[in-house]
Symmetry: C2
Subunit: 408 residues, 2 copies
């Protein structure tokens, strides 16, 4: 039961010039579902990626990183669900290579120009033959308007496909941004992974693309947490085809800020969609920490709140349990935090002042605020000017049910 | 439903010469339960303490730290349940002081010679009058053989009272160690706190006592985690009355190691008892990490495993979900960890070798090992000679139920 999240409306997803998508049924894990996606990029497209920092990163992550670093350009992405090809060692690497080779042959490009992505069960051999056998159908399906089908094809335990478009009019012309993402699995490493693919048709030099991606990721996908478990396969890809002919040369270009904003808007929407569709989620909660000395310390406090099982169960229960939130702030690792300086709000209700219950606060106010499907927890540290925010969900019976019973 | 934990057997708890205990009903939060404990220590007793590092530490923690630092000696401890006196600001400090003053007057000592401890609901004013009114009954109850009653009087959400004794024959005579603890609340900050009080009748200089306590805490109470939430009130106290006349002057004394071992045995038993009685616990799990470069990195990995909600739900389901454990190792913060060097065992079953599934491993073996109420997860990093271990429990429906429904 996703929190305020619906599938993309028909017609809301805009094709991105220079990007074609095709899906197929490859029976990777189960028959009769679309589990294979090919994204073909026009020649000259530029691609940047950020990947999981988990030391147990999956074979496709190793390979995609290596191919991107080789710098031969990217002509296609290939994504399978049903099998994460993680914890599979050298054999897993070879299997991922074989998928790239097969697609490269079909497209007439180098294997290093194909980036592989996998999500699904881990520690099981990738069924290369079935994936390769599925490629012709995916290639036959390639079209510019298959974004909705692509969003569905990369789902694992997601209950809602996640896709979003934006358009922005720049001085030199219009640029289209469309992205898809899958999550849920971020909190279920069996069905490992958050994957997100953002494409635009602007013409961007690679250093600028990489800088843009880092900035956008920091504001979106790096601001979400369901249960703090970092998957082995997380990947976020930003591709710029240049097919619109609209060039933004560097960050000093007058259109840079508007382009970044369009990309950011799509990335934030997709990142939030992953939390809204988190396993067992019944609440979508924004955690905002202000008045810190640095963004890093604000993020530490926000994560401590968002990861505390006690706070998360209180969210689930609509229980304005201030002690749990204050205690989480207290153990977030700020050694010289003055507890007597901390204020706390739930939406507009000030629940704590100077480290203790606000004298005017009545519990009914807190309950009313937390009963909503979406609310903001705002902690003010009163020791500096930095701030940070992230998005999370609650911890419900269904989270335990889904994760305890999944394999049984 | 505590895991393999029973109340102390009659006669198993040994009086400690120089320590008297008295309990009373003060109706701190609810009538008709023993919720007040006074421990009187013989003159000349020496006391050391370690306390929560949470920056939102409770008023009694602030005061106990201050009084210990004042160095006037300790004549009594006073403990109430039902109210944690946390998040209560200056008013909370004054209330804790008034309790100490009242007990000091009754005992004919200084207020600074009385250490206060509180556990229970937080952010509510401590009912000083009721506690002070209860002191005479607790004092009238003072006896050397009231350890079992004391263990019960400090319980909050604990389902089993926790107390343990040990005796050790040293060259100069016999020393008795007895301790009590309460937990459960560590993972329920409303009912905040782990409290543990260890007493012995050895004669120990204060610097030695402090060193002993740090060593013991590191091996016992600092090795447990239920959900990673550090409470506002945690305290561990070690008192040495000297009443046995058995003196251990310093760490080079031939009896030092045996005394330390007796104290450690009691502390470990009490610490484990807290995990066995963790909220909703159905499994008692030892996490052992070996072959690290430092104890610190082994502890990081052990905590990552023990805190992962995915791993904990897999424990609950008796599901040998290797991917979740390996993923937790991978995000534990060792930047140069070679995933291909990691071996993993559940009890004696090797489930993973060189970062992937062990070729001979069959899932039935893992399920059989994890079905037991107690088992060990052992990760071998193969990059050094350091090791660490801790104890934790699973994450069950009851954890969510207890913490989501507690206040409703």
């Amino acid at each position: 039961m996703a929190v305020n999240l619906s599938p993309p409306e028909a017609g809301s997803l805009r094709p991105v010039a220079g990007v074609e998508l095709g899906v197929a049924m490859a029976a990777v894990r189960k028959p009769n579902r679309r589990d294979l996606l090919v994204m073909r990029l026009a020649p000259g497209s530029r691609v940047a990626g950020v990947f999981t920092r988990n030391r147990f990163c999956a074979a496709p992550v190793v390979l995609a990183r290596r191919y991107l670093a080789a710098g031969r350009g990217v002509r296609a992405l290939v994504v399978n669900t049903g099998n994460a090809n993680a914890g599979t060692g050298d054999d897993g690497l070879q299997r991922a290579e074989r998928v790239c080779q097969a697609l490269a042959e079909a497209l007439g490009c180098l294997p290093e120009q194909v980036l592989p992505f996998s999500t699904g069960v881990i520690m099981e051999p990738l069924p290369v033959e079935r994936i390769v056998a599925g490629l012709p159908a995916a290639l036959a399906d390639l079209r510019a308007d298959r974004w909705a089908a692509a969003a569905e094809a990369i789902m694992t335990t997601d209950t809602v496909p996640k896709a979003r478009s934006a358009r922005v009019a720049l001085a030199a012309g219009q640029v289209t941004v469309t992205g898809i993402a899958k999550g849920a699995g971020m909190i279920r490493p069996d069905m490992a992974t958050m994957l997100a693919f953002l494409c635009c048709d602007a013409d961007l030099p690679e250093p600028l693309l990489r800088a843009l991606l880092a900035e956008i990721a920091d504001d979106s996908f790096n601001c979400i947490t369901v249960d703090g478990d970092t998957s082995t396969n997380d990947a976020l890809i930003l591709a710029a085809t240049g097919a619109s002919g609209v060039r933004v040369q560097d960050a000093s270009h007058p259109d840079y800020a508007r382009l970044r904003e369009a990309l950011r808007e799509v990335a934030v929407w997709l990142a939030q969609a992953i939390v809204r569709d988190g396993e067992g989620a019944t609440k979508f909660v924004t955690v905002r920490v202000e008045g810190g000395r640095s963004r890093a310390e604000c993020r530490s406090v926000a994560y401590a709140i968002a990861h505390s099982p006690l706070v998360k169960t209180a969210f689930f229960a609509s229980d304005p349990n201030l002690g749990r939130i204050l205690a989480a702030i207290g153990y977030a690792g700020i050694g010289d935090l003055d507890a007597a300086g901390v204020d706390l709000y739930i939406d507009d209700v000030q629940v704590a002042a100077q480290g203790g219950r606000h004298p005017d606060y009545r519990e009914e106010q807190g309950v009313a605020a937390m009963r909503k499907a979406e609310f903001t927890v705002r902690a003010v540290l009163n020791r500096g000017a930095a701030a940070a925010r992230l998005w999370t969900c609650d911890l419900s019976y269904d989270y335990v049910k889904i994760n305890a019973e999944y394999r049984s």
